[in-house]
């Protein structure tokens, strides 16, 4: 079943040096419960696309629908509640002057879910779900480690009880040991809560291990969309092969696979 459908979506920015086509006539669908990876380098339009899905950037043209209902640029609170974001930089994504609890509670306040004590209970539960002590809610972001802050970012999105999570490079700023734990957590949460993920990243090795399908973007266009298995056994576009060829590998089986897919560069 399709949860989010995108049809011929475009975004053009007007700049002093002429129009910039950040996203060009992109069409694809995200299925209920899947993890769709969006892969691309800087300038691929992946962030612009995410901002249009999240409703913080108006489209130039095209259609979006969520759960078979059209998703306008001017979102209802129900629209907003069902699509949440986890950002890349866990330091900047939390307001340094607000407590963790206040940040996580923002969605509940905005959508007016429950009374005051129920909201605090939800905040505690969300922190618990991401493996943090609910008592951390009283602290400010500066006293937390990078991994803990990223967990708070996930808890903030979860507290809203969303159906779709847009994960924008959620682990690129983290150390590899912390990354492994966060990816595990995201996997568990998706399974337990039946969430749908749009996982934006440039790291194909991460994609291989978390995504069901992969959409490869280049210069605002969708160049390849296929199941993860297909992408990593038989990549179709030159650009996908180029991206796979650039992945640094750590063991010989990986090296053999890379060489098989893209030739010994």
């Amino acid at each position: 079943m399709t949860l989010l459908s995108i049809k011929e979506l475009s975004k053009t920015f007007r700049t002093p040096s002429g129009p910039v086509h950040a996203v060009r006539e992109v069409s694809f669908a995200v299925n209920q419960g899947e993890c769709l990876a969006i892969v691309g380098e800087s300038g691929s339009g992946k962030t612009t696309l995410a901002h249009m899905i999240l409703g913080v950037l108006a489209r130039t043209s095209g259609e979006l629908s969520f759960d078979e209902q059209p998703l306008p640029d001017k979102r209802t609170m129900a629209n907003r509640q069902s699509i949440q974001l986890v950002q890349q930089n866990p330091l900047s994504s939390l307001n340094p002057k607000r407590t963790i609890g206040a940040s996580v509670r923002l969605g509940l306040d905005t959508y007016q879910i429950g009374d005051k004590s129920a909201r605090w209970k939800t905040v505690g539960a969300a922190l618990d779900a991401v493996g943090l002590e609910p008592s951390l809610g009283k602290r400010v972001p500066a006293t937390l480690s990078g991994g803990q802050r990223q967990r708070v970012g996930i808890a903030r999105a979860l507290a809203c009880n969303p159906r779709l999570l847009v994960l924008d490079e959620p682990t690129s700023a983290l150390d590899v040991l912390v990354q492994a734990r966060i990816l595990q957590l995201l996997n568990t949460l998706r399974r337990e809560r039946g969430l749908t993920y749009i996982f934006i990243t440039h790291d194909l090795a991460v994609v291989r291990n978390v995504a069901d399908r992969v959409a490869v973007f280049q210069s605002g266009q969708l160049v390849e969309l296929n199941s993860t298995d297909a992408i990593f056994t038989d990549p179709q576009s030159t650009y996908t092969r180029q991206l796979i060829g650039a992945v640094p590998v750590v063991d010989d089986t990986e090296l053999a696979l890379r060489n098989k897919l893209v030739g010994n560069q």
Binding site: E41, N209, G245, V247
Partner: protein, 289 residues
């Protein structure tokens, strides 16, 4: 036999009004002429401060307490004067940083900055000579239209192009040691892969020794001859790249290795963020060359 760099029992702590924070707890590290050595670790492990000590920068910070010896071409960086240390930088040792665009000065042309670099070694170099050597260096790093690049400002060039310029500048004075701190991490993956290959070729051609600082095991594996793994201010494992990657032995190295996602799709491993085993004593593979 004398090494290009020989670090013995290097310790570093930062003093503040109230407390003392120990950052390095006795680092031993050696680099032979023309050898490519990687120092790999996570954020806060002490890898970047090590580079700053080798460059002689941290010794000039009042709050930093540095002990042990850092022999560069037989001279101890720790005992040199401020002036002597400054004279080494940009001549006998040079550095490539993470973000090429911010390490080049935006208000001067590439040509101007390149000339400054060459003048550090040869103050009275002639204009024509200078231009000739700049062009030659840019051609060597496969920059198309080198004359146009010389008259450009850094913001007019792509990140990858700036990184190539940085490599050319870093090697222009034939340094015996190149420090590369997370080179290209700020760039796109495909550009990063290309520039690393180029850097590898360049330092091999020039027989320049490299200390390659990175958090990325895959990148290290493709670049370095030998690897040191650093964790919380201690070297926990070291050895030739092939041996270390084939048989990671220290618990921390093993966890690090296991945590790297593989394109073969072996799934997400269950590794702890911390374990007491990570504090086990150092493991060395084979004899240093």
């Amino acid at each position: 036999m004398s090494s290009v760099l020989n670090i013995n029992n290097l310790t570093l702590s930062f003093k503040t009004l109230m407390q003392r924070v120990d950052v390095l707890h006795g680092i031993d590290l050696r680099i032979e002429a023309g050898e490519k050595v990687a120092l790999v670790g996570e954020s806060g492990s002490g890898k970047s401060v090590t580079a700053r000590i080798i460059l002689g920068l941290l010794q000039e910070t009042r709050s930093a307490v540095v002990h042990g010896s850092v022999l560069f071409d037989g001279k101890d960086i720790n005992t040199l004067t401020r002036k002597e240390r400054a004279a080494l930088r940009g001549t006998a040792m040079s550095m490539i940083f993470q973000d090429p665009s911010s390490s080049l000065n935006p208000v001067f042309t590439i040509g101007h900055q390149f000339t400054e670099v060459l003048k550090r070694r040869e103050a009275k170099i002639s204009q024509a000579d200078c231009k000739k050597r700049c062009l030659k260096a840019l051609i060597e790093v496969a920059i198309p239209e080198p004359a146009r690049v010389l008259s450009s400002y850094p913001f007019q060039l792509s990140g990858g192009m700036n990184q190539r310029v940085m490599i050319a500048m870093a090697l222009a004075n034939q340094p015996s040691l190149l420090l590369a701190d997370e080179p290209g991490t700020a760039l796109d993956v495909s550009v990063q892969a290309q520039t690393l290959k180029l850097m590898h070729k360049m330092v091999t051609n020039h027989n320049t020794a490299v200390l390659f600082i990175s958090h990325n095991l895959g990148v290290v594996r493709e670049f370095a001859d030998r690897v040191y793994v650093i964790y919380r201010g201690n070297i926990v494992e070291d050895g030739p790249t092939a041996a270390l990657f084939a048989n990671p032995t220290h618990p921390y190295t093993r966890a690090l290795m296991a945590a790297v996602p593989r394109i073969t799709g072996t799934g997400l491993p269950q590794v702890p963020e911390f374990s007491d085993e990570f504090l086990a004593p150092r493991v060395s593979h084979g004899v240093n060359p």
